[in-house]
Symmetry: C2
Subunit: 207 residues, 2 copies
Amino acid sequence: MTDLTEIASPVLGTLDDAGRATLFTDARTANSFAPTPVSDAELSAIWDLAKWAPTAGNSQPLRILYVRTDEGRERLLTHMNEGNRAKTASAPAVAVLAVDTRFHEHIPALLPFRPEMKDAFDADAELRTRTGTFNATLQAGYFILAVRAHGLAAGPMAGFDAAGIDADFFPDGRWHSILVVNIGHPGTNPWFGRLPRLGHEDAVRWE
Amino acid sequence: MTDLTEIASPVLGTLDDAGRATLFTDARTANSFAPTPVSDAELSAIWDLAKWAPTAGNSQPLRILYVRTDEGRERLLTHMNEGNRAKTASAPAVAVLAVDTRFHEHIPALLPFRPEMKDAFDADAELRTRTGTFNATLQAGYFILAVRAHGLAAGPMAGFDAAGIDADFFPDGRWHSILVVNIGHPGTNPWFGRLPRLGHEDAVRWE
């Protein structure tokens, strides 16, 4: 017997082929960018989409620094590995993704029925670092797909001097950079042939 | 002057409102599931979509154990935190997401023009752990959105005994669990009211 006050099971939509192509099957990491600018409104909209995907306890530890000025890009280039500099130099916008090491200060606002979680994270720095890094990295995955959702190419890069970026751009020590993502419209010859993906025999098991 | 052999800048598609709703704006973490089964074909298709999103050096360290049998679910429940057991017990399928600690063995096949990266990771266990964990976590973010792309609800949970799961399900020690994701069609009253998201003033800076 079903309680009539219950909400019936919602039926969910699926992503159509065009959406799958835009986010997954046709999307590619861009290594060069067209000079077409990316507006601040577009960059804001990327976050406004990515922010909805889930994090543990709604903790949302990801932070974003958008670098669009020539001066900012010049500073950022000095911290990139040499093999990544030309790519970042050609990108109209660059996002430095970071974890907020004091993300737990927002918990009373973000998880109003469990405000005491703030104190638990305050008392346990190891738990805080682990939770913050894990969930900010999950959100970095959402962010890359949200860039693509806006018709833009993403170029994520792990090759940079994180301590150098943090000292230069986040001098108060609160944000720690985890990934740099070039953002723009693809340029000429923006990517190589697609590399293979692991098959089920290597990646998936069943129980 | 443009070299005529160059490929012109591709124009990318955008994700429409229905796709944004399915993956981001309307999608919710489900806490209860309908008895409607999820087929092995659906579970396979989730990986076949998620696998296309990018990883550093095409390293793809994420691995997936799909648990669908009653016996497997009973074993898994013993490792879940008490607050997560009822959710997992009601899910028709559960994915244990893991990092392959020897992901680098696939590099000669996945990154054929830089096979020497395998040796670099072989010689530096700290780099290997850091790269594997970071990229598997990015892929966990892609995986959650790929579940939603198939019209299914995801219920990601960090509250479990990882050492217990690893010893029980991955006894050879090669895979390390990082996240457990319930998968199915939402049940009655599957979620609470939506929790707030951080505003731009807290999450975004500009340079």
